[in-house]
């Protein structure tokens, strides 16, 4: 076994643990915020639609690195937002998760919106004929079907999110890529071996997501 795999020297599992936790928290945030954004973009209130459109088109065109650095340099260090305080490590983690969620939500929103567009018009018309209002049409009839059609695109978004957690290393969150940076600087004779280990780690994280969500997608698909 090569020396760099010694858990005493480098705690690989802890680093990947941070990556997984970061991915899970920001995925939860992105799914919730992305759904809200999608609802805003199809709502009958013009101001809400405008806000949703502007938010999505601005935020998804800003590089994630700018957002994450902005979270740390701007929101935290300049504006003094600590998100509940605690150690610098915890704050960095929360700032990164917030940035990742706000950024990924735009992609969740766009997938969901195409899902909403793929629901046949008759579904909403039937719901309205029964006297349901906008909120009921959306939450009881349209969104449940939209979610079932966009499982595969959402899986792609979540896999990108998992890879994007590496950007958190720019503000010093101790996730996998920061450890890799340290390791390839120290273990200069084994940089490709170190990289292979980390690449394998990411394949192990994203591949099961693709397989599981692929099965889920087939199981929940709406038959038409």
């Amino acid at each position: 076994m090569p020396g760099f795999l010694d858990p005493e020297r480098y705690d690989l599992l802890a680093a990947f643990g941070v990556t997984v936790r970061l991915a899970l928290w920001s995925a939860a945030g992105a799914l919730v915020w992305g759904t809200v954004l999608a609802a805003l973009r199809v709502s009958p209130v013009p101001l809400m639609r405008t806000f949703g459109t502007v938010y999505v088109n601005v935020v998804r065109n800003i590089p994630l690195a700018v957002i994450i650095v902005g979270m740390s340099l701007g929101l935290h260090q300049t504006m003094g937002v600590a998100l509940g305080g605690g150690t610098a490590k915890d704050t960095g983690f929360r700032l990164a998760a917030l940035g990742l969620a706000g950024y990924t939500a735009t992609f969740v929103c766009e997938s969901l919106r195409s899902g909403i567009n793929s629901v046949p018009v008759g579904q909403a018309e039937a719901a309205r004929a029964l006297g349901l209002g906008f909120r009921q049409v959306l939450t009881l009839v349209v969104l449940p079907q939209a979610f079932r059609t966009v499982v595969t695109p959402l899986a792609t978004v979540l896999m990108s999110l998992t890879k994007n957690t590496t950007v958190a290393s720019t503000i010093g969150v101790a996730e996998a890529s920061l450890l890799m940076k340290e390791m390839i600087e120290n273990e200069s004779d084994a940089i490709f071996a170190v990289f292979a280990v980390f690449a394998l780690g990411f394949v192990c994280l994203t591949l099961p997501t693709a397989l599981v969500l692929g099965r889920v997608s087939r199981r929940v698909a709406v038959r038409r």
Binding site: A65, V66, F107, V121, A124, K181, I191, F202
Partner: protein
């Protein structure tokens, strides 16, 4: 289901007088929430002296902020993105053709390679390239970040472009391949003379939107490898112009948004031409497999 813009709304009834009043109230409540958020942001910025005129004025009055920092940063960003695009296209085309090969022993390893290239975070590729160049190649340390950033981007986007190529060829009507076969073309000829030229038109929109991803990913090098692109300038400017971090971040973010909106508009125009042009098959690939 049609979008709520244009045409009658689908998700809600045409609003009557009462519904319109309700919508107006909801709009006002939403406006109040937005105003509250904006007030908090401005209040905090005011407290921390981020609204002071001298923090924002340099961007309008001092030409040196632009000539010494922002424009060189923008140029480096565009250079790296253009270089990465130009190099990723042929690599992706080659891999894409290999993905469509009739022989399994070409197709299967390529597919594995492409999947691997897309599964690894770009940032990790850049870090590896940076270290590998430092050890194995005799590159001037000043230009090493550019090499590392471009190489990382080319590896990742080569794999993505390969997928776009494959999707572009598969999106063509099957009659094209059949017709080429019917006039006696072989597999390679069919690909080179019939399928690829048409597939290029079909995938131009997807390729253009992938360029947005490339532009955004150059910013990774700015933070981790001290690559002198746009984001890297934030720290330099705020060090020189009195800690105007928020102003710098805002300007840099807006520059990125403007650049990317330009590319998106271009993609939309190309897409509508590809869809409706008389010479095209109408086949279009719009989805980029990796929106990071």
């Amino acid at each position: 289901m049609s979008a709520p813009y244009g045409g009658p709304p689908v998700l809600y009834d045409e609003p009557g007088p009462r519904a319109r009043r309700r919508h107006r109230l909801a709009g006002l409540a939403f406006l109040a929430v937005l105003a509250l958020a904006a007030w908090w942001v401005l209040e905090t910025m005011g407290e921390r002296h981020q609204l002071d005129a001298e923090k924002w004025r340099p961007f309008v009055e001092d030409a040196r902020v632009w000539t010494a920092f922002l424009l060189p940063g923008l140029r480096t960003t565009v250079e790296a993105a253009a270089l990465a695009t130009v190099l990723a296209l042929p690599l992706g085309a080659l891999l894409g053709v290999a993905l469509l090969a009739e022989r399994r022993w070409i197709r299967a390893p390529t597919a594995a390679l492409v999947d691997l290239g897309r599964a690894v975070p770009v940032l990790m590729l850049m870090l590896l390239c940076n270290e590998a160049y430092a050890q194995l190649r005799d590159i001037d340390p000043d230009s090493r970040p550019l090499y590392a950033v471009v190489t990382g981007l080319v590896i990742f986007n080569g794999a993505v472009v390969a997928e776009i190529f494959r999707a572009g060829v598969l999106a063509l009507p099957s009659g094209q391949r059949d017709a080429a076969r019917a006039v006696g073309m072989r597999g390679t000829q069919t690909m080179a003379y019939v399928l690829l030229p048409q597939a290029v038109t079909a995938m131009l929109p997807a390729l253009t939107s992938q360029m947005v991803v490339i532009v955004k990913d150059t910013a990774l090098g700015g933070e981790m490898l001290a690559f002198g692109e746009l984001l890297h300038q934030v720290r330099l400017i705020s060090a020189n112009y009195g800690a105007n971090t928020i102003a710098c971040l805002t300007v840099v973010a807006l520059l990125f948004v403007a650049l990317n909106l330009l590319l998106t508009t271009l993609a939309a125009r190309i897409e509508s031409r590809a869809r409706h042009g008389r010479k095209s098959t109408g086949a279009v690939v719009t989805r980029t497999p990796d929106q990071t």
